[in-house]
Symmetry: C2
Subunit: 320 residues, 2 copies
Amino acid sequence: MADTTTEIPKHDVIIVGAGPAALTAAIYTTREDIETLLFERGVVGGLAAVTDKIDNYPGFPDGVEGLTLAQDLQKQAERFGAVIELGEITAIHDEGEYKRIESTSGDMHARAVLIATGSDYKKIGVPGEQEFYARGVHYCATCDGAFYREKKLVVVGGGNSAVQEAIFLTRFASHIDLLVRSTIKASDVLQQELQEYVDKGKITIHLNTTTDLIEGEDKFVTKVTGTKDGKKIEFDVDGVFVFVGLEPNSEFVKNSAVLLDEIGFVTTNQDLMTAIPGVFACGDIRSGATMQIASAAGEGATAALKIREYLEGRAHPIQN
Amino acid sequence: MADTTTEIPKHDVIIVGAGPAALTAAIYTTREDIETLLFERGVVGGLAAVTDKIDNYPGFPDGVEGLTLAQDLQKQAERFGAVIELGEITAIHDEGEYKRIESTSGDMHARAVLIATGSDYKKIGVPGEQEFYARGVHYCATCDGAFYREKKLVVVGGGNSAVQEAIFLTRFASHIDLLVRSTIKASDVLQQELQEYVDKGKITIHLNTTTDLIEGEDKFVTKVTGTKDGKKIEFDVDGVFVFVGLEPNSEFVKNSAVLLDEIGFVTTNQDLMTAIPGVFACGDIRSGATMQIASAAGEGATAALKIREYLEGRAHPIQN
């Protein structure tokens, strides 16, 4: 539908998203004078910006507030010339040397595009879930499990991920109530392993149990209420970990030539390039992502180097 | 030669090296109560520790001193329980569940090993090179090129890397003298592109020219002296970039089952595992490394998650 008689704005690099992966890539491209425009439809800093305390981002011995890290990443990218626009990219079209981007600011062309839109944790959508996010309600055991040493937890979910993370969280928690809406869908091996923790009294399984309400005092979770076989059931706990899946933010490329895996993550080659030449992906949107800020930022740096190679029209030999 | 009648010390994870990749991995493993011992034969913090200012490590908007970042990474890993031993690992043997490590502290067993020994830039070995390291003498254009906007530079080397980085540095530098010991060994395509920059007056090539001496004033480089066709030749410049190759620190695994690429970098699969099950590699020692601290730290985080999966004896489904 684009009117080819009208010139549309041209950019060197457009980055979709402005989380840690996107901002790190922008630090690298703009520091090398590669003009870069970022589009963010939500919060600059992504999931990191709405995380209370980040304990394992390397370089901050006492941890760092998520919002502080997000703002510092933004400052660093803007210091070198990155421009962040609030708006949404709705489609990517491969038109050869230039990719055409449809956005809420109109169409534009970019020589290279980096998809760094991240993933969201699926929510259960109950009262208290949003209110206590990151202050008792968590979605990443690797990130936040260590804050719950000798504490009591509820884990919500019945798939492989929920069972495995519940087992993992027994490293820290004194006891875990596992709330499963219907029945456990995890693999046989995992179910056998889970039984060992049930036998040891570390995990109690509650099947056919919905999670209805998360309550707290002084901004911290104290109680989770559910319904089991039609009856109210209460859990006095210090935190809730929800593992009901991830939602990669890839809907805007579903009708493009960019390939997605079965869950909807963007697949790339070892140079982080997608199925469209010149369109790259990094961070939590990429198939194989670890949902860790350090890994996402690291991939952002690598993606920027690969984009430079691509823009130069040749491989950039780093190692000889 | 190990006496199997004697018990040797057992560890969960031994990390070879204590640079950013190693320390980030240790932050992750120890925070999850996986006992971890690091061996460092040189400086804790690796190349980062001896870098004056790091401008592109994500999270520090005004840059960070290399030594500060290194010390903070060390503090963070030690806060969670990582133990750093000064000493050298000299061999790795695959003995099944446990790997046997030969070290300057004797033999020990580890359930998993992470090779994170990094790479060194090859030196030319002339007076002033060490004295002005990171204060006018550099080995990474991506890292330090942006400090030389509108400055004059010498670039040393004649291979693909030297030619490509010289071209890259013209983004910043007003003029570059390229000092080539014999003749240019770069690809035809690169040589043609180089010629364009010579024609534009941005790069001057000096063949059969050795680099003999780097001098400076007030701790900054001001002059490089070489010999061309038996005659002394002087260059008044602000910096020197040396691109004569990388030396991966992999000699200690050369007689093991760990596979190396043609240059000596450790090859891994997508889970960062080497050819020995339970032996992983990440950061600048890994084939495909970018020589960027952010990428190395990111791989350290990813490697730690993969090591945990391995120790648990099953895949850790991060995405379902």
